[in-house]
Protein backbone atom coordinates (compact mmCIF):
# COMPACT_ATOMS: atom_id res chain seq x y z
CA UNK A 1 0.00 0.00 0.00
CA UNK A 2 1.57 3.20 -1.06
CA UNK A 3 -0.73 6.16 -1.06
CA UNK A 4 0.09 9.62 -2.26
CA UNK A 5 3.60 8.69 -3.29
CA UNK A 6 3.40 11.61 -5.69
CA UNK A 7 3.22 14.19 -2.92
CA UNK A 8 7.00 14.30 -2.48
CA UNK A 9 7.44 15.45 -6.05
CA UNK A 10 4.51 17.81 -5.71
CA UNK A 11 5.94 19.64 -2.75
CA UNK A 12 9.36 19.73 -4.34
CA UNK A 13 7.81 21.44 -7.35
CA UNK A 14 5.78 23.76 -5.15
CA UNK A 15 8.82 25.01 -3.32
CA UNK A 16 11.05 25.08 -6.36
CA UNK A 17 8.72 27.46 -8.18
CA UNK A 18 7.55 27.18 -11.74
CA UNK A 19 9.79 25.72 -14.42
CA UNK A 20 7.93 27.68 -17.02
CA UNK A 21 9.80 29.70 -19.61
CA UNK A 22 8.19 33.11 -19.55
CA UNK A 23 7.66 33.22 -23.28
CA UNK A 24 6.98 35.72 -24.89
CA UNK A 25 8.56 37.94 -22.22
CA UNK A 26 11.68 35.84 -22.09
CA UNK A 27 12.70 33.47 -24.82
CA UNK A 28 14.28 30.12 -24.53
CA UNK A 29 17.79 30.05 -25.95
CA UNK A 30 18.04 28.52 -29.36
CA UNK A 31 20.87 26.24 -30.35
CA UNK A 32 23.28 26.71 -33.16
CA UNK A 33 21.59 23.97 -35.15
CA UNK A 34 18.02 25.04 -34.39
CA UNK A 35 16.09 24.90 -37.59
CA UNK A 36 13.86 27.95 -37.94
CA UNK A 37 13.56 29.06 -41.51
CA UNK A 38 15.56 29.19 -44.70
CA UNK A 39 17.48 32.34 -45.39
CA UNK A 40 19.41 33.29 -48.50
CA UNK A 41 22.38 35.44 -49.32
CA UNK A 42 20.78 36.49 -52.52
CA UNK A 43 23.98 38.13 -53.75
CA UNK A 44 25.75 34.83 -53.94
CA UNK A 45 22.89 33.03 -55.64
CA UNK A 46 23.45 31.91 -59.18
CA UNK A 47 19.86 30.83 -59.75
CA UNK A 48 20.83 27.30 -60.68
CA UNK A 49 17.41 26.01 -59.56
CA UNK A 50 19.00 23.10 -57.78
CA UNK A 51 17.09 23.94 -54.61
CA UNK A 52 13.84 24.21 -56.49
CA UNK A 53 14.31 20.78 -58.04
CA UNK A 54 15.32 19.06 -54.85
CA UNK A 55 12.79 20.66 -52.49
CA UNK A 56 10.44 17.87 -51.40
CA UNK A 57 7.46 20.17 -51.08
CA UNK A 58 8.05 22.49 -53.98
CA UNK A 59 8.17 25.52 -51.73
CA UNK A 60 11.04 27.20 -53.52
CA UNK A 61 10.73 28.94 -56.83
CA UNK A 62 13.63 30.31 -58.78
CA UNK A 63 13.24 32.60 -61.71
CA UNK A 64 16.50 33.05 -63.45
CA UNK A 65 15.20 35.71 -65.85
CA UNK A 66 13.92 37.95 -63.10
CA UNK A 67 16.81 36.87 -60.87
CA UNK A 68 14.42 36.18 -58.10
CA UNK A 69 14.36 33.44 -55.50
CA UNK A 70 11.19 32.96 -53.51
CA UNK A 71 9.97 30.63 -50.89
CA UNK A 72 6.45 29.74 -49.78
CA UNK A 73 6.89 29.92 -46.01
CA UNK A 74 3.74 27.94 -45.37
CA UNK A 75 5.02 25.04 -47.46
CA UNK A 76 8.58 24.81 -46.22
CA UNK A 77 9.20 21.87 -43.94
CA UNK A 78 12.66 23.02 -42.81
CA UNK A 79 14.28 19.80 -43.97
CA UNK A 80 17.49 21.61 -44.75
CA UNK A 81 17.86 19.71 -48.03
CA UNK A 82 18.15 22.86 -50.13
CA UNK A 83 21.06 24.19 -48.13
CA UNK A 84 22.85 20.90 -48.58
CA UNK A 85 22.46 20.80 -52.32
CA UNK A 86 23.15 24.48 -52.91
CA UNK A 87 26.36 24.60 -54.92
CA UNK A 88 27.20 28.13 -53.75
CA UNK A 89 26.17 27.50 -50.13
CA UNK A 90 24.22 30.73 -50.21
CA UNK A 91 21.21 29.14 -48.51
CA UNK A 92 21.34 28.74 -44.81
CA UNK A 93 19.11 27.77 -41.93
CA UNK A 94 18.21 30.61 -39.60
CA UNK A 95 17.37 30.01 -35.94
CA UNK A 96 14.32 32.23 -35.98
CA UNK A 97 11.17 30.45 -37.07
CA UNK A 98 8.57 31.99 -39.33
CA UNK A 99 6.00 33.72 -37.22
CA UNK A 100 2.35 32.86 -37.60
CA UNK A 101 0.38 34.82 -40.13
CA UNK A 102 -3.15 35.54 -41.22
CA UNK A 103 -2.59 34.44 -44.80
CA UNK A 104 -0.17 32.75 -47.10
CA UNK A 105 3.32 34.18 -47.08
CA UNK A 106 5.66 34.05 -50.01
CA UNK A 107 8.99 35.67 -49.31
CA UNK A 108 10.65 36.81 -52.47
CA UNK A 109 14.27 37.83 -52.78
CA UNK A 110 15.34 39.65 -55.89
CA UNK A 111 18.92 40.17 -56.82
CA UNK A 112 19.08 43.71 -58.06
CA UNK A 113 22.02 45.87 -58.56
CA UNK A 114 23.40 46.19 -55.08
CA UNK A 115 20.07 46.13 -53.31
CA UNK A 116 18.14 43.31 -51.84
CA UNK A 117 14.82 43.72 -50.28
CA UNK A 118 12.49 41.11 -49.08
CA UNK A 119 9.05 41.99 -50.19
CA UNK A 120 5.84 40.24 -49.75
CA UNK A 121 3.44 39.58 -52.51
Amino acid sequence: MSIMSMSKTLFKNLFHGPFTVQYPIKKKDSYERTRGRIGIDIDDCIFCSMCQRRCPTGAIQVDKAASSWSIERLSCIQCNYCTEVCPKKCLHMENQYTSPSFGKVRDEFIKCTNTQSPSES
Partner: protein, 359 residues
Protein backbone atom coordinates in the same frame (compact mmCIF):
# COMPACT_ATOMS: atom_id res chain seq x y z
CA UNK B 1 -29.77 -8.12 -22.24
CA UNK B 2 -31.73 -5.22 -23.46
CA UNK B 3 -29.88 -2.62 -21.49
CA UNK B 4 -27.13 -1.90 -23.92
CA UNK B 5 -25.71 1.50 -24.42
CA UNK B 6 -24.17 2.23 -27.77
CA UNK B 7 -21.96 5.25 -27.98
CA UNK B 8 -19.44 6.58 -30.46
CA UNK B 9 -15.91 7.00 -29.15
CA UNK B 10 -13.78 9.28 -31.25
CA UNK B 11 -12.52 10.46 -33.70
CA UNK B 12 -12.52 13.74 -31.78
CA UNK B 13 -12.24 12.90 -28.15
CA UNK B 14 -10.23 14.53 -25.39
CA UNK B 15 -8.42 11.35 -24.43
CA UNK B 16 -7.47 10.57 -27.99
CA UNK B 17 -4.52 12.54 -29.25
CA UNK B 18 -5.16 11.04 -32.63
CA UNK B 19 -8.41 10.29 -34.37
CA UNK B 20 -9.62 6.74 -34.26
CA UNK B 21 -13.17 5.67 -33.86
CA UNK B 22 -14.75 2.92 -31.83
CA UNK B 23 -18.38 1.91 -31.68
CA UNK B 24 -18.67 0.98 -28.04
CA UNK B 25 -21.43 -1.28 -26.87
CA UNK B 26 -21.71 -1.02 -23.12
CA UNK B 27 -23.64 -2.67 -20.36
CA UNK B 28 -23.57 -0.38 -17.37
CA UNK B 29 -19.98 0.58 -18.04
CA UNK B 30 -18.69 -2.75 -19.19
CA UNK B 31 -17.59 -2.87 -22.79
CA UNK B 32 -19.35 -5.71 -24.53
CA UNK B 33 -18.21 -4.97 -27.99
CA UNK B 34 -15.81 -2.53 -29.56
CA UNK B 35 -15.71 -2.12 -33.30
CA UNK B 36 -12.93 0.06 -34.64
CA UNK B 37 -12.94 2.39 -37.55
CA UNK B 38 -9.74 3.84 -38.90
CA UNK B 39 -8.86 5.92 -41.88
CA UNK B 40 -8.85 9.36 -40.32
CA UNK B 41 -5.14 9.74 -40.91
CA UNK B 42 -4.73 7.75 -44.06
CA UNK B 43 -2.84 9.99 -46.44
CA UNK B 44 -1.56 7.46 -48.93
CA UNK B 45 2.08 8.42 -48.57
CA UNK B 46 3.35 5.09 -49.89
CA UNK B 47 2.06 6.26 -53.23
CA UNK B 48 4.38 9.27 -53.00
CA UNK B 49 7.34 7.16 -54.16
CA UNK B 50 6.06 7.77 -57.62
CA UNK B 51 6.37 11.53 -57.20
CA UNK B 52 9.37 12.00 -54.97
CA UNK B 53 12.70 10.46 -55.80
CA UNK B 54 14.28 8.02 -53.44
CA UNK B 55 16.45 10.71 -51.86
CA UNK B 56 13.59 13.09 -51.21
CA UNK B 57 11.51 10.23 -49.90
CA UNK B 58 13.68 10.14 -46.81
CA UNK B 59 11.83 13.26 -45.67
CA UNK B 60 8.49 11.64 -46.38
CA UNK B 61 9.52 8.57 -44.43
CA UNK B 62 10.48 10.75 -41.49
CA UNK B 63 7.01 12.19 -41.49
CA UNK B 64 5.22 8.89 -41.36
CA UNK B 65 5.08 9.58 -37.69
CA UNK B 66 6.26 12.49 -35.64
CA UNK B 67 7.13 10.50 -32.55
CA UNK B 68 9.40 7.84 -33.98
CA UNK B 69 10.30 10.05 -36.87
CA UNK B 70 13.99 9.26 -36.66
CA UNK B 71 13.47 5.53 -36.66
CA UNK B 72 11.28 5.74 -39.73
CA UNK B 73 13.95 7.68 -41.52
CA UNK B 74 16.58 5.23 -40.38
CA UNK B 75 14.55 2.20 -41.40
CA UNK B 76 13.94 3.61 -44.82
CA UNK B 77 17.59 4.52 -45.29
CA UNK B 78 18.69 1.08 -44.14
CA UNK B 79 16.41 -0.56 -46.65
CA UNK B 80 17.72 1.50 -49.54
CA UNK B 81 21.28 1.00 -48.34
CA UNK B 82 20.71 -2.73 -48.34
CA UNK B 83 19.32 -2.67 -51.83
CA UNK B 84 22.20 -0.57 -53.07
CA UNK B 85 24.63 -2.53 -50.92
CA UNK B 86 26.13 0.48 -49.25
CA UNK B 87 28.14 -0.04 -46.09
CA UNK B 88 27.87 3.09 -43.98
CA UNK B 89 30.64 4.33 -41.72
CA UNK B 90 30.87 2.98 -38.15
CA UNK B 91 30.46 6.40 -36.57
CA UNK B 92 27.23 6.95 -38.48
CA UNK B 93 25.96 3.66 -37.13
CA UNK B 94 26.69 4.71 -33.58
CA UNK B 95 25.14 8.12 -34.10
CA UNK B 96 22.04 6.49 -35.48
CA UNK B 97 21.88 4.24 -32.46
CA UNK B 98 22.19 7.18 -30.08
CA UNK B 99 19.43 9.09 -31.77
CA UNK B 100 17.30 5.99 -32.03
CA UNK B 101 17.62 5.26 -28.34
CA UNK B 102 16.95 8.89 -27.45
CA UNK B 103 13.85 8.65 -29.59
CA UNK B 104 12.80 5.56 -27.74
CA UNK B 105 13.23 7.36 -24.44
CA UNK B 106 11.29 10.37 -25.59
CA UNK B 107 8.55 8.18 -26.96
CA UNK B 108 8.23 6.08 -23.83
CA UNK B 109 8.23 9.06 -21.50
CA UNK B 110 5.62 10.70 -23.68
CA UNK B 111 3.62 7.51 -23.44
CA UNK B 112 3.94 7.43 -19.69
CA UNK B 113 2.58 10.94 -19.54
CA UNK B 114 -0.35 10.11 -21.75
CA UNK B 115 -1.07 7.00 -19.71
CA UNK B 116 -1.12 9.10 -16.55
CA UNK B 117 -3.48 11.47 -18.29
CA UNK B 118 -5.72 8.58 -19.31
CA UNK B 119 -6.29 7.60 -15.72
CA UNK B 120 -6.76 11.18 -14.65
CA UNK B 121 -3.41 11.76 -12.95
CA UNK B 122 -2.67 15.18 -14.30
CA UNK B 123 0.34 16.02 -12.22
CA UNK B 124 2.03 12.80 -13.24
CA UNK B 125 1.43 13.69 -16.87
CA UNK B 126 2.96 17.08 -16.33
CA UNK B 127 5.93 15.65 -14.52
CA UNK B 128 6.62 13.10 -17.28
CA UNK B 129 6.45 15.68 -19.98
CA UNK B 130 8.63 18.01 -18.00
CA UNK B 131 11.33 15.34 -17.94
CA UNK B 132 10.84 14.66 -21.60
CA UNK B 133 11.64 18.27 -22.48
CA UNK B 134 15.25 17.64 -21.51
CA UNK B 135 15.54 14.99 -24.16
CA UNK B 136 13.90 17.28 -26.69
CA UNK B 137 16.58 19.81 -25.83
CA UNK B 138 19.21 17.23 -26.72
CA UNK B 139 17.46 16.70 -30.02
CA UNK B 140 17.36 20.37 -30.76
CA UNK B 141 20.96 20.84 -29.90
CA UNK B 142 22.19 17.92 -31.99
CA UNK B 143 19.80 17.99 -34.94
CA UNK B 144 18.09 21.35 -34.89
CA UNK B 145 14.59 19.96 -34.60
CA UNK B 146 12.58 19.11 -31.55
CA UNK B 147 10.43 16.51 -33.17
CA UNK B 148 11.54 15.90 -36.70
CA UNK B 149 15.29 15.66 -37.06
CA UNK B 150 16.07 15.31 -40.74
CA UNK B 151 19.50 13.96 -39.91
CA UNK B 152 19.32 10.51 -41.38
CA UNK B 153 20.40 10.18 -44.94
CA UNK B 154 21.03 7.35 -47.29
CA UNK B 155 24.66 6.55 -46.78
CA UNK B 156 24.99 7.82 -43.24
CA UNK B 157 23.89 10.78 -41.20
CA UNK B 158 23.88 14.48 -41.98
CA UNK B 159 25.16 15.81 -38.70
CA UNK B 160 27.85 14.83 -36.29
CA UNK B 161 27.78 15.11 -32.55
CA UNK B 162 30.93 16.47 -31.01
CA UNK B 163 32.65 14.68 -28.15
CA UNK B 164 31.80 17.35 -25.60
CA UNK B 165 28.17 17.35 -26.62
CA UNK B 166 28.19 13.60 -26.13
CA UNK B 167 29.49 14.11 -22.61
CA UNK B 168 26.85 16.74 -22.03
CA UNK B 169 24.21 14.28 -23.19
CA UNK B 170 25.46 11.73 -20.68
CA UNK B 171 25.18 14.39 -18.00
CA UNK B 172 21.61 15.21 -18.95
CA UNK B 173 20.75 11.53 -19.06
CA UNK B 174 22.00 11.10 -15.54
CA UNK B 175 19.71 13.88 -14.41
CA UNK B 176 16.82 12.29 -16.35
CA UNK B 177 17.66 8.97 -14.76
CA UNK B 178 17.37 10.49 -11.31
CA UNK B 179 14.07 12.20 -12.01
CA UNK B 180 12.67 9.14 -13.69
CA UNK B 181 13.44 6.96 -10.72
CA UNK B 182 11.24 9.23 -8.63
CA UNK B 183 8.51 8.92 -11.21
CA UNK B 184 8.88 5.17 -11.42
CA UNK B 185 8.01 4.97 -7.76
CA UNK B 186 4.65 6.45 -8.58
CA UNK B 187 4.00 4.47 -11.74
CA UNK B 188 4.92 1.12 -10.30
CA UNK B 189 4.20 1.44 -6.60
CA UNK B 190 1.36 3.89 -6.04
CA UNK B 191 -1.79 2.06 -4.99
CA UNK B 192 -4.19 4.21 -6.91
CA UNK B 193 -2.15 3.85 -10.08
CA UNK B 194 -1.82 0.14 -9.62
CA UNK B 195 -5.54 -0.18 -9.14
CA UNK B 196 -5.97 1.21 -12.63
CA UNK B 197 -3.30 -0.83 -14.39
CA UNK B 198 -2.99 -4.14 -12.59
CA UNK B 199 -5.08 -6.87 -14.11
CA UNK B 200 -6.47 -4.54 -16.75
CA UNK B 201 -6.43 -5.77 -20.33
CA UNK B 202 -4.64 -9.02 -19.75
CA UNK B 203 -3.17 -10.57 -22.86
CA UNK B 204 -1.84 -14.08 -22.44
CA UNK B 205 1.40 -15.16 -24.06
CA UNK B 206 -0.45 -17.42 -26.45
CA UNK B 207 -2.93 -14.70 -27.38
CA UNK B 208 -0.13 -12.20 -27.88
CA UNK B 209 1.59 -14.58 -30.26
CA UNK B 210 -1.57 -15.62 -32.07
CA UNK B 211 -2.69 -12.04 -32.58
CA UNK B 212 0.70 -11.07 -33.93
CA UNK B 213 1.43 -8.50 -31.24
CA UNK B 214 4.84 -6.83 -31.33
CA UNK B 215 6.91 -4.53 -29.19
CA UNK B 216 6.17 -3.90 -25.51
CA UNK B 217 2.72 -5.37 -26.03
CA UNK B 218 4.28 -8.74 -26.88
CA UNK B 219 7.20 -8.37 -24.47
CA UNK B 220 4.89 -7.71 -21.53
CA UNK B 221 3.08 -10.94 -22.32
CA UNK B 222 6.27 -12.92 -22.35
CA UNK B 223 6.92 -13.10 -26.07
CA UNK B 224 10.54 -12.31 -26.70
CA UNK B 225 10.59 -10.18 -29.77
CA UNK B 226 13.17 -7.47 -30.01
CA UNK B 227 14.67 -6.75 -33.40
CA UNK B 228 17.61 -4.95 -31.83
CA UNK B 229 19.04 -8.33 -30.99
CA UNK B 230 19.64 -8.74 -34.73
CA UNK B 231 22.42 -6.24 -34.41
CA UNK B 232 21.50 -3.65 -37.00
CA UNK B 233 23.17 -0.26 -36.74
CA UNK B 234 25.51 -0.46 -33.75
CA UNK B 235 23.39 -2.77 -31.65
CA UNK B 236 25.61 -5.71 -32.46
CA UNK B 237 28.38 -4.09 -30.46
CA UNK B 238 26.30 -3.21 -27.42
CA UNK B 239 25.41 -5.32 -24.47
CA UNK B 240 21.76 -5.65 -23.66
CA UNK B 241 18.99 -8.18 -23.28
CA UNK B 242 15.36 -7.73 -24.31
CA UNK B 243 13.07 -6.82 -21.43
CA UNK B 244 10.34 -9.32 -20.82
CA UNK B 245 7.48 -9.51 -18.40
CA UNK B 246 4.94 -12.28 -18.10
CA UNK B 247 1.80 -10.77 -16.59
CA UNK B 248 0.49 -9.31 -19.83
CA UNK B 249 -1.59 -6.58 -18.18
CA UNK B 250 -1.28 -2.82 -18.39
CA UNK B 251 0.96 -2.82 -15.38
CA UNK B 252 3.40 -5.20 -17.08
CA UNK B 253 3.42 -3.07 -20.18
CA UNK B 254 4.13 0.03 -18.13
CA UNK B 255 6.94 -1.83 -16.41
CA UNK B 256 8.45 -3.02 -19.67
CA UNK B 257 8.44 0.48 -21.09
CA UNK B 258 9.92 2.01 -17.97
CA UNK B 259 12.65 -0.58 -17.92
CA UNK B 260 13.31 0.11 -21.58
CA UNK B 261 13.86 3.77 -20.80
CA UNK B 262 16.57 2.87 -18.31
CA UNK B 263 17.96 0.37 -20.77
CA UNK B 264 18.14 3.11 -23.39
CA UNK B 265 20.07 5.32 -21.02
CA UNK B 266 22.51 2.48 -20.55
CA UNK B 267 22.78 1.82 -24.28
CA UNK B 268 23.50 5.47 -25.02
CA UNK B 269 26.21 5.50 -22.39
CA UNK B 270 27.74 2.42 -24.00
CA UNK B 271 27.57 4.11 -27.40
CA UNK B 272 29.27 7.22 -26.08
CA UNK B 273 32.10 5.05 -24.82
CA UNK B 274 32.45 2.95 -27.94
CA UNK B 275 31.87 5.51 -30.67
CA UNK B 276 34.78 5.61 -33.08
CA UNK B 277 36.06 8.67 -34.84
CA UNK B 278 35.66 8.93 -38.56
CA UNK B 279 33.41 9.82 -41.44
CA UNK B 280 29.72 10.09 -40.95
CA UNK B 281 28.58 9.59 -44.47
CA UNK B 282 29.50 7.85 -47.71
CA UNK B 283 28.61 9.22 -51.07
CA UNK B 284 25.71 7.58 -52.80
CA UNK B 285 25.71 7.18 -56.52
CA UNK B 286 23.28 5.46 -58.83
CA UNK B 287 19.76 4.37 -58.26
CA UNK B 288 18.40 1.45 -56.25
CA UNK B 289 17.48 -1.69 -58.05
CA UNK B 290 16.15 -4.74 -56.26
CA UNK B 291 14.07 -5.34 -53.21
CA UNK B 292 14.62 -5.74 -49.51
CA UNK B 293 12.75 -6.29 -46.26
CA UNK B 294 14.13 -4.54 -43.20
CA UNK B 295 12.97 -5.16 -39.67
CA UNK B 296 13.92 -2.77 -36.93
CA UNK B 297 12.68 -2.19 -33.39
CA UNK B 298 10.79 1.01 -32.79
CA UNK B 299 9.53 2.15 -29.40
CA UNK B 300 6.22 0.53 -30.31
CA UNK B 301 7.76 -2.64 -31.66
CA UNK B 302 8.90 -4.27 -34.80
CA UNK B 303 8.52 -2.31 -38.00
CA UNK B 304 8.99 -3.78 -41.44
CA UNK B 305 10.16 -1.78 -44.40
CA UNK B 306 9.93 -3.09 -47.88
CA UNK B 307 11.26 -1.25 -50.88
CA UNK B 308 11.51 -2.30 -54.43
CA UNK B 309 13.55 -0.31 -56.86
CA UNK B 310 13.71 -0.57 -60.59
CA UNK B 311 16.90 1.21 -61.35
CA UNK B 312 15.30 4.60 -61.79
CA UNK B 313 15.13 7.51 -59.41
CA UNK B 314 11.65 6.52 -58.40
CA UNK B 315 10.96 3.37 -56.45
CA UNK B 316 8.36 0.89 -57.58
CA UNK B 317 7.01 0.25 -54.15
CA UNK B 318 7.72 1.29 -50.66
CA UNK B 319 5.77 -0.27 -47.84
CA UNK B 320 5.87 0.11 -44.10
CA UNK B 321 4.27 -2.33 -41.75
CA UNK B 322 4.19 -0.40 -38.55
CA UNK B 323 3.94 -1.88 -35.05
CA UNK B 324 0.57 -0.34 -34.25
CA UNK B 325 -0.87 -2.01 -37.31
CA UNK B 326 0.20 -5.34 -35.87
CA UNK B 327 -1.06 -4.47 -32.40
CA UNK B 328 -4.59 -3.42 -33.32
CA UNK B 329 -5.98 -6.99 -33.16
CA UNK B 330 -4.47 -7.38 -29.71
CA UNK B 331 -6.07 -4.10 -28.64
CA UNK B 332 -9.48 -5.27 -29.79
CA UNK B 333 -8.99 -8.47 -27.85
CA UNK B 334 -8.17 -6.65 -24.62
CA UNK B 335 -11.04 -4.20 -25.03
CA UNK B 336 -13.63 -6.92 -24.69
CA UNK B 337 -15.04 -6.99 -21.20
CA UNK B 338 -13.12 -4.01 -19.87
CA UNK B 339 -14.94 -1.06 -18.41
CA UNK B 340 -15.48 2.27 -20.10
CA UNK B 341 -12.98 3.92 -17.80
CA UNK B 342 -10.37 1.44 -19.03
CA UNK B 343 -10.92 2.18 -22.68
CA UNK B 344 -8.49 5.11 -22.86
CA UNK B 345 -5.90 3.16 -20.90
CA UNK B 346 -6.25 0.18 -23.16
CA UNK B 347 -6.08 2.24 -26.30
CA UNK B 348 -2.91 3.78 -24.95
CA UNK B 349 -1.55 0.48 -23.86
CA UNK B 350 -0.48 -0.42 -27.37
CA UNK B 351 0.98 3.07 -27.59
CA UNK B 352 -1.01 3.71 -30.69
CA UNK B 353 0.46 5.63 -33.51
CA UNK B 354 -2.42 5.97 -35.88
CA UNK B 355 -0.47 8.00 -38.35
CA UNK B 356 2.01 5.10 -38.59
CA UNK B 357 -0.77 2.61 -38.95
CA UNK B 358 -2.62 4.35 -41.71
CA UNK B 359 0.27 6.14 -43.31
Amino acid sequence: MGNRTIVPFGPQHPVLPEPIHLDLVLEDERVVEAIPRIGYIHRGLEKLVEKKDFQQYTFVAERICGICSFMHGMGYCMTIESIMQIEIPERAKFLRTIWAELSRMHSHILWLGLLADAFGFESLFMQSWKIREQILDIFEETTGGRVIFSVCDIGGVRKDISAETLQKIVGILEQVDKELKELTEVFLKDTSVKSRTKGVGVLSKQAAFDLGAVGPMAKASGVELDMRTQGYAAYGKLKFAPIIDTKGDCYARTKVRIKEIFQSIDLIKQCVELIPEGEIKVKVTGNPSGEYFTQIEQPRGEVVYYAKGNGSKFLDRMRVRTPTFANVPALLETLKGCSLADVPILILTIDPCISCTER
